[in-house]
């Protein structure tokens, strides 16, 4: 990648980050929501750890990686709305008549989404720590959780962007997101230890990328991480992220043809 593509990627990323920071309502919602989840689910399911299989006696310890990944999913899956707005406003076309690298435009979406997810994840981890959660896996484990949530965010951010460029309707994005969010969340180990899940659910969860991120992050955060699990789930996430970004780049090309 040439240096001007990197510079342009950064300018475009900066622009997107600035837009997020300047929309305080949006910012507040994306930070308050995980807090509410932590509080609600942390209290509601507090006693389930007594069932065993959670690998910890504190439900909060178990819950934090789940909330981190859920939040990465919940904020990234709306990325397409922003893209749609840029198309409707004519901003994307304005950029397309400049010599800006087309790759830089696409990269910026990925980088911005990664940075936003990272910041959100760190805040949740800190909030959890303040509430008394412990992270036996230490800094290394937290880093792996962070990478897993960024990869998951990349998958859903890229897919959402592709959807936005393809269907060009807000309603479609809203419909698909609301349809997917709860099943993706509950068909995973976010709230319940896999050993306590009905076996058919456990089987489905094996194919759920949201679960991959949770399994990898959660395992890395234990005192004795199962590195096989971390690498296989992390690797699968990485592969999926590459495919999703490739797909959204393809969609971007087809958008350019449809102008």
């Amino acid at each position: 990648m040439s240096s001007h593509v990197i510079a342009q990627t950064w300018y475009m990323t900066q622009r997107q980050l600035m837009a997020i920071i300047r929309q305080p309502v949006f910012l507040a919602i994306s930070l308050v929501q995980p807090v509410i989840w932590l509080f609600l689910f942390g209290n509601l399911f507090k006693k389930v750890v007594e069932l065993g299989g959670f690998g910890t006696t504190s439900y909060l310890d178990y819950l934090i990686p789940g909330i981190v990944v859920m939040s990465a999913l919940g904020s990234s899956m709306w990325a397409g709305m922003g893209t749609l707005e840029e198309i409707e406003r004519g901003t994307l076309n304005r950029f397309l008549t400049t010599p800006v690298s087309r790759n830089a435009l696409m990269n910026a979406n990925v980088v911005q989404n990664g940075i936003s997810t990272a910041v959100q994840s760190v805040i949740i981890v800190l909030l959890g720590w303040a509430a008394g959660a412990t992270y036996p896996g230490g800094a290394g484990g937290l880093l792996i959780l962070l990478v897993a949530s960024i990869l998951l965010g990349t998958v859903f951010g890229a897919l959402s962007n592709a959807l936005g460029m393809l269907v060009r309707r807000r309603e479609s994005i809203i419909g698909i997101n609301t349809f997917l969010l709860l099943p993706l969340t509950f068909l995973s180990s976010s709230f319940m230890a896999p050993s306590q899940m009905p076996s058919w659910m456990r089987q489905i969860a094996e194919f759920n990328p949201v679960n991959w991120a949770m399994v990898a992050g959660r395992s890395a955060l234990t005192a004795q991480p199962d590195w096989g699990l971390v690498l296989s789930r992390g690797g699968a996430l990485l592969a999926l992220a590459v495919v999703a970004v490739w797909l959204s780049t393809r969609t971007f090309r087809s958008y350019q043809k449809s102008v």
Binding site: Q8, Y11, R89, R94, T97, P99, K257, V259
Partner: protein, 337 residues
């Protein structure tokens, strides 16, 4: 000027959108360097599609085009460096400030450091946005936003500036201000401006040469005076007191000295006359003898609307209405030839 190569050349552009909508149907265009060129036509005539192709956004199904000497299909990147584009939709980032928008735009063209800062401030000054430049664009008035759009198109000092419907949606005051701005731009050394508009007045006022676009191709091209000059003499419009027999009125007026192109419809009678003022008493007398009393008569210099009527075969307002409904207009060219 005439020694320079044309700023824009398009040959036989054809573009069809899904659903068999023919946007361009053999568009030919030559724009001389350093001129202001107006593409005039109703909505849906193909102006915006032409601009999209010339600015590398869209690709034609067939045909060729070059801008600033670069082929739009083979060297889009060279074209992009040479052009500035002010599209119909603003495209400015609403949560960024005017200045930030300009800085980013400059950086996309490779401008860096103090040079891009200086250029942004220079443009904010020039477009009377020095104070507004620090504020987010979402608080701008329509006129301010449009001025910023033009500034964005000029950041990198392009050779050719495309203005797609620059005053659509502006109130009359902001429109006049924008016209002054564009007229000033035209004085810039060497800048070629390609302007699309569906306002006759705008094209007449700003463009040195005008091409009238209708149904995806150019029907006539020339300076506003040439186009109007081809319609010899003045238009005389008369309003009758009562509906008159069309044939009788036409017969009464046809063949009068210095009078031609008689068009009678209901109470409205229009003719062309070598000298409108001198023709009025003659026309009134002739109509009187034919038993048609005249309520009012006006003499008008030919307008671009008349030009449009003549070459597109329909009135401009009819074309707007028809194209807006996507109905192919089949209005007969009622006696204009």
């Amino acid at each position: 000027m005439s020694t320079r190569a044309p700023a824009v050349e398009a040959r036989q552009l054809i573009k069809t959108y899904p659903g068999d909508v023919t946007a361009l149907n053999g568009m030919d265009l030559t724009v001389g360097a350093g001129t202001v060129f107006g593409l005039l036509g109703p909505n849906g005539a193909g102006k915006s599609t032409t601009v999209k192709i010339l600015t590398t956004l869209a690709r034609p199904d067939s045909g060729a085009a070059s801008v600033a000497g670069h082929d739009v299909l083979h060297h889009p990147d060279r074209v992009r460096r040479a052009i500035g584009v002010v599209a119909q939709k603003s495209g400015a980032d609403p949560v960024a400030t005017g200045r930030e928008n300009l800085l980013l735009q400059g950086r996309l063209y490779g401008m860096r450091g103090a040079a891009v800062q200086r250029r942004a401030d220079e443009l904010l000054d020039r477009f009377d946005l020095a104070d507004a430049g620090k504020r987010q664009v979402k608080g701008y008035s329509g006129g301010m936003q449009r001025r910023l759009d033009v500034a964005l198109g000029l950041v990198h000092r392009p050779e050719v500036l495309f203005l797609d419907e620059p005053t659509t949606g502006l109130d009359p005051e902001a429109r006049t201000a924008m016209w002054d701005e564009i007229a000033r731009l035209a004085g810039d050394e060497g800048l070629t401006i390609v302007l699309t508009t569906h306002y006759l007045e705008e094209a007449d006022r700003l463009a040195e040469r005008i091409a009238i676009v209708d149904r995806g191709r150019i029907v006539v091209e020339g300076t506003p005076d040439e186009l109007k000059g081809e319609l010899r003499g003045d238009a005389v419009h008369m309003e009758l007191r009562t509906d008159a027999d069309r044939a009788a009125v036409t017969a009464a007026l046809t063949g009068l000295p210095g009078v031609y192109e008689v068009l009678a419809e209901g109470r409205r009678v229009s003719v062309r006359a070598e000298d409108g003022a001198a023709a009025v008493p003659v026309l009134l007398g002739a109509l009187d003898r034919a038993g048609a009393a005249v309520a009012a008569a006006t003499v008008a210099r030919p307008s671009l609307d008349d030009v449009y009527l003549r070459y597109a075969g329909r009135r401009f307002s009819e074309a707007e209405a028809a194209d807006a409904q996507q109905i192919p207009a089949t209005v007969a060219a009622g006696g204009t030839r």
